[in-house]
């Protein structure tokens, strides 16, 4: 990777970088250390300077084909090799393969007498010889400030060091120079004046009795760099720097939905459940059943054959499994199928940064689709609110960029629930969450019942109803809450109400049935009446017809008779 330096009239010259291979350090230095230039690393005792220097050389040799020379002024070569062997770095092997030379320069001030003018050409010759022997491209001088203690004439040392760094630059070698932290200056003897291209400081601080290490790029000529302090860890894998630059907010949002494992909860969440890759917060007082919601979700996830990783900060694995068995969930089967893994640890065991690094490492190893953290409230005593929030932010960011759905439980207490219903979380972690499910205890009728409601769920229409949350041997059920004349009815009062309603319903049904029967009877009797009337009518109709016919017949006859009579009469007119 290369950084850019502007020169003159907008011509861009690329500053070549030498990647360190140390996770995260290359990110904050935008590609690595400046190639062919010396970099100063200063810090107190035990801050990790030697480790970074050696790691830089080893990675150069292993990954980039650049052999290196390590000059140590204080530690013995054998001690170094042994120490690094315990960190998984086989220096002997590199030395054998001529990829690395480790040379100790021993200076015993007691046996030196200065008799006149001198220079440090011997050092140059030795270093040059080593470099030429293996064709080294990287050099580490640890700590070159030892020269100041050995020789009384600081001016000569200073000018020789200046000469040395120019000599190194001329040969195009990327060098790391380490220095002890000074009182008022970055290094005790002011090395930063000559090694001015890139300066990095290491810090090892105690916060709340837990040590946290930080690294900072104080200066980097010709390149942009992360200017903040970044936490880093030294673990058995060497150094890992955790840069905050990954907070880029450019992860894509999935539209897939995953079931919560509780049917009615899915319904409350727009019908389908959570968005994949979203962060879900479950809050509630002690004993409200937060872990059981997690369990239902884990169960649903494992049934889909997706992996789940459970970080437990409060209870042990076997305790959680036992507890969940009592509500009918068997988590052991998923553990046996390697779909579920637990990582149970007390928050006070490490600093927040170490927790984050371990979590990311485990997530990376296992590749789960769902991560659960139970609870996050335990982390607050370990660091201050800002740190915990920062840690969670980075974790959530990491999870979202990998499309991993995450669930967090948070213990809340009475003080955080105001009567108006406005909820509150420590350090406002709720703003980091996409969905928020709250569990509440509602007292009444001499008993306490659990209630659940969805406080927020970004990106979907969610129910605003409070549901009663019941844990039974058969798992989790959600019931509608009754609003009666006395108020919200839960628990046994609800059962009573339900029974009442059922009874009432039955009674009404019977009433209706009875009425229906009456109506039937009426209808039938009416029908018979109608039939009789119809019959009568028909009868009268018939009679009417007959009469009409007779009348017509008589009329015809009369007419006929008249004609006859007329005919007769006219005869004798």
């Amino acid at each position: 990777m290369q950084g850019k330096a502007r020169q003159g009239k907008g011509k861009i010259l690329a500053l070549e970088k030498c990647p360190t291979g140390i996770q995260g350090l290359d990110d904050i230095t935008d590609g690595g250390l400046p190639k062919g230039r010396p970099t100063l690393i200063c810090g107190g005792a035990g801050s990790g300077k030697t480790l970074i220097a050696m790691d830089f050389l080893a990675r150069g040799a292993l990954d980039h084909g650049e052999p290196g020379v390590y000059i140590t002024f204080e530690e013995r070569k054998d001690d170094l090799v042994k120490n690094f062997a315990s960190m998984g770095l086989d220096l002997e092997d590199l030395i054998r393969k001529k990829k690395l030379i480790v040379d100790q320069i021993r200076i015993n001030p007691a046996e030196i007498t200065e008799t006149g003018e001198f220079d440090l050409e011997g050092l140059f010759i030795r270093l040059g010889d080593h470099i030429d022997t293996i064709g080294a491209k990287r050099v580490a001088l640890d700590t070159i400030e030892a020269l100041f203690s050995a020789f009384s004439n600081a001016d000569i040392i200073r000018s020789e060091l200046q000469r040395l760094f120019l000599w190194i630059k001329d040969r195009g070698i990327t060098a790391i120079v380490t220095g002890e932290q000074g009182e008022r200056t970055l290094t005790r003897f002011g090395l930063e004046e000559y090694v001015a291209d890139c300066v990095i400081t290491l810090d090892n601080r105690l916060v709340n009795q837990i040590s946290t290490r930080r690294v900072r790029v104080v200066k980097y000529r010709g390149s942009k760099h992360g200017a903040d302090e970044y936490p880093f860890l030294i673990s058995e894998d060497g150094i890992t720097v955790l840069p905050v630059t990954t907070l880029s907010l450019i992860h894509t949002a999935s539209s897939d939905r995953v079931s919560t494992g509780i049917g009615r909860l899915n319904t409350m969440l727009g019908g389908k459940g959570f968005f994949r890759g979203s962060s879900v917060l479950v809050t509630g007082e002690a004993g409200t059943g937060k872990s059981s919601i997690l369990t239902a979700f884990i169960d649903a996830t494992c049934r889909r054959k997706e992996c789940c990783l459970y970080f437990a900060f409060e209870e042990s694995q076997s305790q959680i499994i036992r507890n969940m068995r009592s509500i009918g969930y068997d988590l052991q089967q998923w553990i046996d199928a390697d779909l579920l893994r637990f990582h149970a640890i007390r928050p006070s065991a490490y600093g927040l940064e170490m927790h984050l690094a371990i979590m990311i490492k485990r997530i990376h190893e296992f590749g789960p689709k769902v991560v659960v953290i139970d609870p996050i409230s335990n982390l607050f005593p370990v660091g201050d609110e800002i740190q915990v929030r920062s840690m969670l932010m980075r974790l959530i960011d990491y999870l979202k960029s990998n499309d991993i759905t995450s669930l967090y439980t948070n213990l809340t207490n009475e003080q955080t629930l105001s009567p108006g219903g406005a909820e509150f979380t420590q350090a406002h972690v709720s703003s980091l969450m996409d969905s928020w499910i709250a569990l509440k205890m509602i007292e009444g009728n001499g008993e306490r019942n659990r209630a659940l409601y969805v406080l927020k769920s970004r990106g979907m229409a969610h129910s605003n109803q409070i549901r009663e949350f019941v844990l039974s041997d058969n798992g989790i059920e959600l019931f509608d809450v009754y609003i009666g004349s006395e108020g919200v009815l839960l628990g046994s009062a609800r059962s009573v109400q339900e029974i009442k309603e059922r009874a009432g319903k039955l009674a009404r049904e019977q009433e209706i049935a009875g009425k229906r029967r009456d109506l039937e009877l009426k209808k039938r009797s009416m029908e018979t009446d109608i039939a009789a009337l119809k019959e009568k009518y028909a009868q009268e109709e018939r009679e009417m017809r007959v009469l009409t016919e007779q009348d017509q017949g008589r009329k015809k006859l009369m007419n006929g008779e008249r004609k006859d009579m007329a005919a007769h009469r006219s005869a004798d007119r």
């Binding site: 040379d103 021993r106 200076i107 006149g116 011997g122 010759i125 030795r126």
Partner: protein, 128 residues
């Protein structure tokens, strides 16, 4: 001209009187720089005056033999190493400060020479 790795000395196997012993000195230089030449000249002078032949002097030019710097842990140039008599001493610089050179070579006071005289026998040449 400065020769390399060739012992420049006068006598070696002369049986020494008790207490006098052989000085083995090594001068490390880096090429023919003014400092190196000065150092060599100064050293010759001191040796002739104070050691009067009881010395073995080796001059090593690190420009020609860089690997030899590791053995005696040479960083400063010029460096004079007194290998014998023990203890090993390291003198850095062009040896222009004669006073310091003599102290550094344990030649400074008579007391020291006396001590050597009093039957101190590092070479075990004295027969019991």
């Amino acid at each position: 001209m400065i020769m390399t790795t060739e012992p420049k000395h006068s006598k070696k196997s002369k049986p020494e009187p008790a207490g006098e012993k052989l000085y083995v000195l090594r001068l490390y230089v880096a090429g023919q720089t003014p400092k190196s030449l000065t150092a060599f000249a100064n050293l010759k002078k001191i040796c002739e005056v104070h050691l009067k032949g009881e010395y073995e002097l080796e001059v090593i030019d690190l420009m020609l033999n860089p690997k030899l710097a590791t053995g005696d842990q040479i960083i400063a140039i010029p460096t004079l190493i007194k290998k014998l008599p023990p203890p090993m001493r390291r003198l850095i610089g062009d040896l222009s400060n004669t006073e310091n050179v003599l102290v550094g070579l344990d030649l400074k006071d008579g007391v020291k020479r006396e001590r050597y005289r009093k039957g101190f026998d590092p070479y075990g040449k004295k027969a019991p």
